[in-house]
Every structure is written in structure tokens, then in C-alpha cells.
Amino acid sequence: MPLLTQDEAQALLKKVLSYSKADECEINLTGTITGNIRYARNSVSTSGGISTNTLVVSSAYGKKLGVATINEFDDASLEKVVRRAEELAQLAPENPEFVSFLGPQKYAEPVMFVPATAAITPKQRADAVAQSLQVAKDTKTVAAGFMEDTTTMNAMMNSKGLFAYNTSTGVNFSITMRTEDGKGSGYATRGYNDFTKLDTKKASQIAADKGLKSATARAIEPGKYTVILEPAAAAVLLENIFFGLDARQADEGRSFLSQPGGKTRLGEKLVDERVNMYSDPLNPELPTSTWAGDGRPQEKVSWIEKGVIKNLTYSRYWAEKKGVKAIPGPDGVIMEGGTKSLEELIKGTKKGILVTRLWYIRPVDPQTLLLTGLTRDGTFYIENGEIKFPIKNFRFNESPVIMLNNLEELGKVERTVSVESNVNYLIPPMKIRDFTFSSLSDAV
């Protein structure tokens, strides 16, 4: 079924709400159409398309909450799902942390929807992959890739008079090109709201180039090196800061943002003063929703300004308890950069390592945000401003907090996709000194 328009969604939600007998009722409606195509060994392995619609009803009696969902939209089904949520609420134990639903809010008009993406046909998908496969053929490399496009409609309404609606589109593409002998591997990833911005050929060429150039890598000694992290590599480290901005965890003393005596690092300088991070739902390069799933407006928020922690995220319960504004977690984060291209950053580096991609990032110590993981798909030694030779992959043990204290230089911001979380970011390539590589890996 096609996605509902704002008027259709509003009419449907009004109808559902009219069945409610609870003290409070809130309804979330989501419709998603996704298409994907996956290939490996220079051949398409799977592809598919899924369309789903879900209605979630939350009913509350006092501090007792019940939730039920349904994917059928006839009147009887809609009434049934409301009754079921109410029955569950009456059975539920009282939750002292329940916060009454929000009243009407003002939201900015979101800019996430691009008609060209919503109109993708299976043929366009196959053509995009065919271009990538052609690069593999031309360069005698072996391609493995994945492209997924999504069109989503979200709407919500509650008994306090709140209504919200938005639509969005997105496409994520990633490609790995390996040499036929398996000695080289290169990678590229792209994410856009607008499918027409995706150039699978160009991304595949970058991956193939890296794959060919990374073959027969040399081992160099693990240790502390100056690194240039491409945005895809930086993203998987930095997002651990973004995911860890929860105020309650910090207040409770169990986060890298905690300090002795129940204090937090809010308002304190944590990283280099050139570090500025914020979220902005209306950023044209990385538009995100103007409202959160519980109806709170998503606004432009500064998270780190001149190296200082400016804001933390709050649940509505915790914000009420602490008497502060309940800022929801962002859907995408933007880090300010500089003016140099990646090539210029390399040119200005006496001795260092270029990292394309980091992989299998796992927390080692939540107290310091120490992470471990490995380089992958194109790691190169830089000397006197030039890429000298490919090097074997390294394991690292490093904290993004320490890393951002060791900032040397930032390049031009670009949109990238985290291979760990699939979240999109605007992040610059960055030059970091004393990045700790702790051992070598033979993996290609």
C-alpha cells in the first residue's frame, strides 16, 4: 500500500483516537517501503522489496501504560487494537517513571523527502549495480556490495492534541573491491536522501583503486602514529561519543561523562577547542526529523562547542526530575571541519598512516570510552606528503575522547555512513597524532 498523505494519516489517527476510553492515548503510525540489492563475487546474490505499515497504540490509566500494535486498518481492527492497549494498561504494574504525554508542539517543516528516491524502480537498482560490476570487470577486481533505499512516513497523534507528520527518503550504498588473488581490498560507502546524488560507478572506482593499491601490503611496527582518518573511519569512533550523551547515565556515575560526587562533565572542556559538534534537522546535506518519536521537537543543538560539552540528552522523566529542558537524542550529528581536501591533508603529513575504514569497533572500558577494532580495506603509509606503500592492518586501542585531544588538523566535511550503526553523519577527514595501534593483523 502506498504511503499515506498528511491528510490521510491525520484522518486515520483521529478515527483511532475516537475509540479511546483511557485517561491518555497516543498513536504512532509508520509506513516503510524498502528495496535492496546485494551482490558478491561479481554477481547479484539477493534482492528484495518489503512494504510494511504499523500502528502503535499507547494507552495510559494513571501511571499504568499498555501498548498494542496492528498492521490492518479496517475499523474493526483499529477499535480492537485500542481495546487491547487499554486491557494491557489495566493489567500493567504502575511505573513511577511514567510521564504524561506531550501537548501540541510546533515543528519546523522537515526536508528529508526526495521524490526521485521514492520513485526508484527495480531497473534503476539493477542499473546502479551493473555500473559497479562494470568497474569490477574493467579493473579485474571482485566486487561485493549492497544498496538499500527506503521511503518512510511517520505520523503521531495523542489525546492531548499533539499531531506530527513527516516523510523521508534515503539510500545507503557500500562497496568492497578485492583483487582476484585476495591480496588487496578497497572500500567506499555513500549515503544520501537523494538517490540522484549516488554515483555507484565513482564509489566503485575509488574502492577498486584502493583494492589494487593495497595489494602486497608491508608490515610496519605497531605503535603510536599520526593517522589521517577518512570520514567513514572517524564516524565509527565518534559515534560512541554521540551514543553516550545520555544525562541519566552521566548523573548516575556510570558514563565517561561522569565525575566523582555525582557531578558530570557538562560545561567542561573535554577535547581540543577546534572540535565543534551539533545536530540540525534542517541541514540540507543531512536533513533529519524535526520531531522525536515521543513528539518532542528536534531542534538545532550544539553538543560540543570549542571542545566543551554543551548539552546532554534527556528522557522526559529525567529532565523533569532534574528540572531541565528535555533534549532528545539527535538522529544525525555534524562535526565542523576545515577547508583542506583529503589529498591536502596527506600532502602536509611528514610521517603517518592513512586509514580508509575501521572495523569491529567494541567498547573496552566505558569509563574512558576506550574502544578496540581494526583497520580494513586500504591502509597506507605516508611519508613526506605522499602515499608510499600499503601496510598491513592494525588493531587499535584508543578512546575517541583522547583522540580528539590529539587533533592536528581537520579537512572538508562530507556525508558518510557508519558501517557499525548505519547512521549517516557529516564528518571531516581528520589528522590525529599518537593514535595507538597495538598489534598487527594478517587480514586483507
Binding site: E221, P222, G223, K224, S399, I402, N405, N406, R433, D434, S438, S439, L440
Partner: protein, 219 residues
């Protein structure tokens, strides 16, 4: 930076009452490694001891008689160590007259070029068995901080080089006192980082350098 352009510090300008760190420059190999290490070592001396410290690294050619003015010398490298006639003579005289040289194998590999050639040099100068393993209860391990032997470095744990944890240091002792302290552990690399980063270590990893200097100066 090409090594020949590194400024040689004139030891004669130094305050005689202050400890100063001397790096030995030699002809054959790459003596100019781990450039940020001395700053961290000197920082630790200031932080933990009352020793007056000159914070400027001193670089002296081994072939120069200037070395006889320097009570504490450091020699390191990755590559071949083949002393010239003058270097060999100076090294022997310096050590026999009571000088102290801390030699660190930057390759930390028993089959590596540095260790092979350096150990060969010592054998030729001081005789076959002069360079000996020192016991892990040697006074150098309890001179200031308490250690159960030489602290392990991340380099020897990371599978590089011979992938062996050397749980001893070697030394040439002259009159019951260490004249040449020799390590395959690559402390130089372990202690080589931007000075601002010491604050990220839960336990300062340069503490053993304090023991080495205190031993050299006190014993």
C-alpha cells in the same frame, strides 16, 4: 627532519649542577629515533624526584671527547651498529672511567640487526661474557619505584619483532656498578609520545626511566 639538521646542544653551556640527558650520535646507524622520549623522561624526573633537571636534550657525537663531560648517555637505533675506531675507543674509555650508557634496541628483536651488531661490538670491546643478564632483584629495580623486573612494553606484546617478552635486562658492570645498561624492550618507543598525552595513562609508563637515571646518578 633530516638528522644532520638537528641542533647539537653545547654541553659546556649547561649548569653543572643539573642533570642533563645526552643522546649519542654514531656514524653507522640511525641514532636519531624516538625523538619525543627524552622530554617525557625529563618530565618524570621533575615530577617524582628532587633532582635539578636541564630540560634540553643534549646530542653528542660518540666520536667526540665531549662525551666525557656527560654523566648519562643514551644510545638507540634500528640498524647496524659498527663503531668507528674513535667511537670504539671513546665508548670503552667512557664506560671504564665510570660513565653510564643506557642502550635501547629500537628493533627489540634478538635476531635484529641492531641487537646482533651491538652485542658483537660489546663482545669485541669488553670480552665474550661481559654483557650479562641482570637479576630481577637488581638494585636498579628498587632504586626509586619498586619493580619485579623490567616492566613489559606494548611493543614486545604486540607480535612485532621476535614476539618474545624479554623478562630481563642485560648490563656490563664495571667495579660492581652498571656501566652499560642494555635493553631489548624498546623503552624508547614506549616512552615516545606527545608530552601532553601522559595525562591519559592511568599509571605513568615512564616510571622505570626514573629508576635508570637515579641509579646512574646515585650509584
Amino acid at each position: 627532519m633530516p638528522k644532520e639538521t638537528r641542533k647539537l646542544h653545547d654541553y659546556r653551556m649547561r649548569d653543572a649542577n643539573k642533570f642533563f640527558f645526552t643522546r649519542l650520535q654514531y656514524e653507522s646507524g640511525d641514532w636519531d629515533v624516538d625523538q619525543r622520549m627524552p622530554a617525557n623522561l625529563l618530565n618524570s624526573l621533575i615530577e617524582y624526584t628532587t633532582l635539578p633537571v636541564d630540560t634540553q636534550e643534549n646530542i653528542v657525537p660518540l666520536s667526540s671527547t665531549d662525551i666525557f663531560q656527560c654523566p648519562f648517555c643514551y644510545l638507540s637505533g634500528h640498524k647496524l651498529v659498527e663503531f668507528t675506531q674513535q667511537e670504539r675507543e671513546n665508548f670503552e674509555r667512557y664506560v671504564r672511567q665510570g660513565g653510564f650508557v643506557f642502550v635501547d634496541d629500537c628493533n627489540h628483536d634478538i635476531d635484529g640487526l641492531f641487537s646482533k651488531s651491538f652485542e658483537g661490538q660489546m663482545e669485541r670491546i669488553f670480552g665474550a661474557n661481559a654483557l650479562k643478564k641482570i637479576p630481577n632483584h637488581h638494585p636498579i629495580y628498587s632504586m626509586f619505584f619498586q619493580f619485579d623486573g623490567p616492566p613489559t612494553t606494548s611493543q614486545e606484546l604486540n607480535g612485532w619483532g621476535d614476539d618474545i617478552v624479554h623478562d630481563y635486562l642485560k648490563a656490563i658492570e664495571i667495579n660492581g656498578r652498571i656501566g652499560v645498561l642494555y635493553s631489548n624492550k624498546d623503552y624508547g618507543c614506549e616512552w615516545d609520545y606527545d608530552f601532553r598525552n601522559k595525562r591519559f595513562y592511568k599509571i605513568d609508563n615512564t616510571r622505570f626511566s626514573v629508576n635508570i637515571v637515579m641509579y646512574a646518578m646515585m650509584r
